[in-house]
Amino acid sequence: MDNPIEAKGLTRVFGDLVAVNSINLSINEGEVFGFLGPNGAGKSTAVRMLTTLLKPSGGSAKVAGYDVASEASMVRKKIGVALQDAAIDPLMTGNELLKLQAVLHGITRQDAKIRCPELLERVGLTAAGDKRVGTYSGGMRRRLDLALSLVHRPKVLFLDEPTTGLDPTSRVALWEEVRTLNKEIGTTVFLTTQYLEEADQLAQRIAIIDNGQIVREGSPAALKSDVGAPTLRVDVVDSDFEIAKQVMTELGEERPARKGRIAIGLTGGTRAITVVLKALEDQNIEVQHVELDEPSLDDVFADATGRRLEGGGDT
């Protein structure tokens, strides 16, 4: 069988702007795939093409085995979509919206009667099911939106920035929901996000998109290790600083560090820490603080684009 999502040279142009520039995607069955990029990178445009809301200007894509342009109506039957601005009528109750969504997907009344309470329970909204959506919190709305996108048991689920604007607790709750969904039902999930942590936490594989192009692709771990060695940071007493620096830079490439701290790239994996510490010990240098930092996805992003996605950390 085909992969649930395949794209070849997928392109979308708006006037002079190439929003998505010839991207290739191949997403495996049962995978959570993260599409990571800053605002305006082309994430939503790509999702709109894959969900048949926008016609590609070039290239092709297949979702659930059907072409998004020529077999759009088949694609729509197989996918669940939770878009960025959850389109939810505040005057309706969660239950009513679920029933409406069931009607939109041609689910019979009897089936919907069983399915809707099931879904409400799944996303923890059973108690709020009969309340108007206008009274829901942001997290509740997103969870309802997730339930809505699941009504027809889609094979492929598209989540466009599912946690943007949510508080940390709601965010973690939603992640948990997506994880269980993926594990229990095996739904393939295509997730766009501008949060590094979200991609890191949820996705088995990610693609980084910038200016409409995919600049990196792979598992978070592989991408990070590709960027280079982890950074070892060491604080020593001031009198030992110069000699410690000399010892350490012999063992690894010097990296920028704040004043009074020495940082090197640690080639040879984490076991090399002992080598460094031993060398310092041999020189009778008193180590006050040791810190080992794996490269983050932000480092991956910076390496690929020369920019940081989130505010630069303390180095």
Partner: protein
């Protein structure tokens, strides 16, 4: 409807208020020498116009809702589901028609309560209700086209005064025979004048199949043009779909 009374209540209340004002202010107009229906009360005279006015004001509702759906991305939800594309339009047209049906019925009942009379009895009442409901759909279809093109509730709502002007430069509250110069000229060419005059024939002189067909054929032309425009706009939106 029950949850959003502010959306439809004004469209009922407003025409009734105008009717009350006009019938008390201009009731003497019936006694003017050239008034076409000297034997009826002014209330009877303005009844069809008031019903049409109320329904036309209401015809913006369906288009406003559609624009709202586009604005808050509910349209995306619809479009990403397997719902057929044409049903999006058909649903809105049906809703414009039903809005009209309910409004016309209520308005006529209220007029009866205030002592208005229909010479053709129940048949005339039904004819009036059907004419106005179809008119609501016909005018609604133009507004729906605009909603599809702009995707903006504000734009759709801003057309409200245009409808108002159309009604005022027509025979709605004053017979064309009594109008002067360019104003009368425009009123005579306003299709709304024809429709209002025809409904007046039905409600004042009595039910007539011929007049009913006349009214329906004009409304059918308006609707065809409107629906064709909205189909074009829907196709455009689907092709662009952003």
């Amino acid at each position: 409807m029950i949850r959003q009374p502010q959306a439809w209540a004004p469209t009922l209340f407003f025409p009734l208020l105008l009717a009350a004002v006009y019938s008390s202010q201009f009731s003497k107009a019936v006694s003017l020498p050239e008034f076409p229906y000297p034997d009826v009360t002014f209330l009877d005279f303005i009844l069809p116009a008031c019903v049409i006015q109320g329904v036309l004001f209401g015809s913006t509702n369906s288009a406003t809702d559609l624009a709202g759906d586009i604005e808050n991305a509910f349209m995306d939800r619809l479009l990403s589901s397997p719902v057929s594309r044409s049903s999006i339009l058909i649903a809105r047209l049906t809703s414009a028609f039903s809005y009209g049906l309910v409004q016309a019925t209520i308005l006529i009942l209220v007029f009866f309560a205030f002592g208005a009379e229909l010479s053709g009895g129940i048949r005339s009442a039904l004819a009036l209700i059907l004419i106005t409901s179809f008119l609501s759909m016909g005018v609604g279809s133009f507004l729906i086209a605009i909603a599809l093109k702009t995707g903006s509730q504000e734009v759709v709502n801003s057309l409200f005064p245009v409808i108002f002007v159309f009604i005022f430069i027509s025979s709605a509250f004053f017979p064309v025979e009594l109008m002067d110069g360019w104003y009368g000229q425009i009123a005579e060419w306003n299709p709304l004048t024809w429709i209002i005059d025809w409904t007046r024939v039905i409600t004042i002189e009595g039910f007539s199949w011929k007049v009913l067909l006349q009214a329906f054929s004009v409304i059918a032309l308006i609707s065809l043009a409107g629906i064709a425009t909205s189909i074009r706009q829907l196709k455009r939106r689907l092709a662009m779909a952003s």
